[in-house]
Subunit: 477 residues, 2 copies
């Protein structure tokens, strides 16, 4: 359904004709993100500044037009899919790095700045903003904040939520608020800058962010170790922490991921049940000593092959296999991965037990599931592989997803450590959060009483994730 | 006004007679915290478990009895003063360390655990929980979370808000919710565990906390450097960050603090305009090299005396002068300090300019103001010294406080970096937070519609902080 003419004219009046698109092609494209979901918006609007955002939101508030904010559209759970129609507010024009203040340990950015671009701007200062997600070359800072994103170095440097010092936010009625301050902490009322992190565009629109920056490490080194069992790998990780080592990354790949990488790229990995990659960073001598200590821990825990590297070229080779996991899984066993159980959080020590369960669930449901991810903080990505044209496979994936999340919640975990809730995870999110859901609903109602901001997500998404799965199901016809 | 008999009997029924006190002496004692405020509660109730807290809150909700939660009562802004009467809920009986899980990098505690006690429990594991406030020997974890506390090592390890992974909270209607999860991060809905941090008991009662723990550093070393001007000291701090050094503490003392320490304790400090103390921790070789680099930076920035230490005894001596500041100020110039402008946050680079302003404000108002604190994160403690029996001095302090905060807000700072808002800072907090105040009010209303949890604080405290200052004014008669 197209927007009524007056609303469209109002939007064009705010941002200019060139920044409103209501043609079928644009609307179709902006109906998807990187998830399995699709819904066509009525229009796409591209604001250039906070004042424009405020006026757009004011108009939507008055006319009751649903508004879904979008960065680069890399979200994996449908956060940027406008399931109730209305407008998609695309923030990519607001893409300036506003300041880099090394002496104050912060930088200020507009929400459309791309993660990698920010780090290029910080590099000449010898600083960086660490929470590197897999999509870091394209994803935006605004999207990272809205989805509480993180990545492989979060285990040492913290997730996005830990590195946001302040936000400028446009509320549902168009009011602009400032949160946080220009110091490095505050105890000045409710920590609203933290509340907006992970709120997925349901409470307000982030128009500026102040981020804590940290010095780039002077050097780094990595090791890769293969293990005869998931439990042996898990034992090594526990010992790393008991020995007070502080890795800057600690990743795991299970048997399926190892095999997929070997077949697709011919990477010479051992035929192990699990691989772990450990990175240390900092002073070169300490890096070398800590890597050696970590290697001895792995050996004592039963590791077979262990490879070390501190020169950048060899370090890059070690990490190449980790980067190959996702593209390898895209075609492993003639099937493709769907993002349904892709982001599990759990206690670090429970990783072996839970990943082993995935194998049983996969067998039971006739599926292939690969597991890899940030084992050092208990964050595992489960890739469920299916034939996306098979209704039977979709059904099996749905069953397997439920079983996977049941295992994760039983272990005291979460249905999302870093990918967000959106639509895909909504039912299990409600199961996980229990009585907290009512608190979230009340906060949503208090800040967005008319429900115009990203409606139909999280607590308001349907029980059946596939009921919004119009894009993929459309292709199944 | 005593509580009605039925409510009192109901409370005794929940926690046992021995854990309810309604006699004049107990009520008087629990009318104060470490702030300038006082108000006598109707009763003091000491719960022993979450279920008791839930039932107490349920009763207060039904009978509309105001409820103010209290840990060790070390708050400096009146957070635990029951200004609307009702009951004080004293959490010190819930004081167990429930688990220490080094392999999962967290521990779980009840809210009445004392900060120093938790760290004694973590020490045998080689771990600690870092955000050490000045009151760390007595303050509770629950109080630290409720007030978003921090301390001298926050500059490297983060504030309380950064190190809380999950909370169990009793809401205003008695409902118990769990937030966070047992992994190290989550992107699973609104980050409620962060919202409760700094909410000062106005949104719920913390009954359990899951905290990120970190390895204790292997060694540490410190330097103390004197400067001929605040600007020279500030220049050194900027250069420390430009050179990518990461201090584990970076403190400052101004001329008044230096003189107070010299007079009171005879500590042989130089007659400088400013002293800074820098601590580095980690590998011993790196600590020594980084301290040397920091010392050279100080020298280049104009430092006079520079003293280094890496052996623990000499390190302790360097820090002794910093610890002597507060007791020294207690009697400097025949006056005593009041907590009114004691916790200022600002951009790190603005510290010299703002502290210089304090001197002008002090002169203009006929007061002495000493400034010291966590300069490395822009958190300065201003100690306003007055004769507490002089109405003129109170009036001058009130004027000076306004002027100090005006300077801080102009610099992009906050009226509280770590001491909280309570009553003392309420008016200036509202000035600082502007349109955000309405957001906080709406959240408060959504979670505590009857307004029974710590009423009369933050956004609801009176404009005139001295209108609740009954304790001190009582002594002035």
């Amino acid at each position: 359904m197209p927007l009524n003419e007056a609303v469209l004219a109002g939007l064009e009046n705010i941002v200019g004709k060139g920044n409103v698109a209501a043609d079928a092609a644009a609307r179709y494209v902006y109906g998807s993100d990187a998830s399995i979901h699709h819904h066509t918006p009525d229009a796409v609007v591209r604001p250039g500044c906070t004042d424009e955002v405020s006026r757009i939101v004011g108009l939507c508030d008055k006319e009751l037009v649903p508004l879904t904010t979008r960065g680069a559209g890399t979200g994996l759970s449908g956060q940027a899919v406008p399931v109730k129609g209305g407008i998609v507010l695309e923030m990519m024009r607001m893409n300036r790095v506003l300041s880099v203040r090394v002496e104050d340990l912060y930088c200020e950015v507009e929400p459309g700045v791309v993660f990698a671009g920010l780090n290029r701007a910080l590099e000449p200062h010898g600083y960086w903003w660490p929470p590197a997600p897999g999509s870091g070359d394209v994803c935006t800072i605004g999207g990272m904040i809205a989805n509480s994103a993180s990545g492989i170095r979060t285990v040492k440097y913290g997730a996005t939520r830990d590195l946001v010092l302040g936000l400028e936010v446009v509320l549902a009625d168009g009011t602009v608020i400032e949160t946080g301050n220009r110091g490095l902490k505050n105890a000045s009322g409710y920590q609203l800058e933290k509340l907006f992190v992970g709120s997925e565009g349901t409470l307000g629109i982030i128009t500026k962010a102040r981020l804590r920056i940290v010095p780039r490490p002077k050097s780094s080194g990595s090791l890769i170790a293969s293990f005869p069992s998931l439990e042996a790998a898990g034992g090594a990780i526990s010992q790393v922490y008991r020995n007070r080592l502080v890795p800057s990354a600690l990743e795991i790949m299970d048997r399926n991921c190892i095999q997929a990488v070997k077949r697709k790229f011919g990477t010479p990995l051992p035929d192990a049940e699990a691989l772990i990659i450990i990175e240390m960073d900092g002073d070169r001598r300490v890096v070398e000593e800590d890597l050696k200590a970590a290697g001895e821990i792995c050996r004592a825990a039963g590791a077979g092959d262990i490879d070390y590297a501190t020169d950048p070229a060899k370090v890059a080779m070690i990490w190449e296999s980790r980067k190959q996991v996702l593209p390898s899984m895209a075609s492993f066993g003639g099937k493709g991965p769907i993002s349904v159980a892709d982001d599990l959080g759990m206690p670090v020590s429970k990783v072996p037990e839970v990943v082993r369960t995935f194998g049983e669930i996969a067998r039971r449901n006739g599926l292939i599931i690969g597991a890899y991810g940030h084992a050092g903080e208990g964050n595992i990505h489960g890739k469920v592989l299916i034939d996306v044209k098979s209704a039977r496979d979709w059904e099996a994936a749905r069953r397997a997803t439920d079983e996977i999340y049941e295992a994760v919640l039983k272990a005291g975990g979460t249905v999302s450590a870093e990918h967000g809730i959106g639509i895909t995870r909504a039912r299990l999110f409600r199961l996980e959060r229990g009585a907290s859901i009512e608190v979230m609903r009340r906060i949503k109602k208090a800040l967005d009483p008319k429900g115009i901001l990203n409606p139909g997500k999280m607590f308001d998404a349907p029980d059946d994730m596939l009921s919004e799965n119009r894009y993929i199901l459309g292709e199944c016809d």
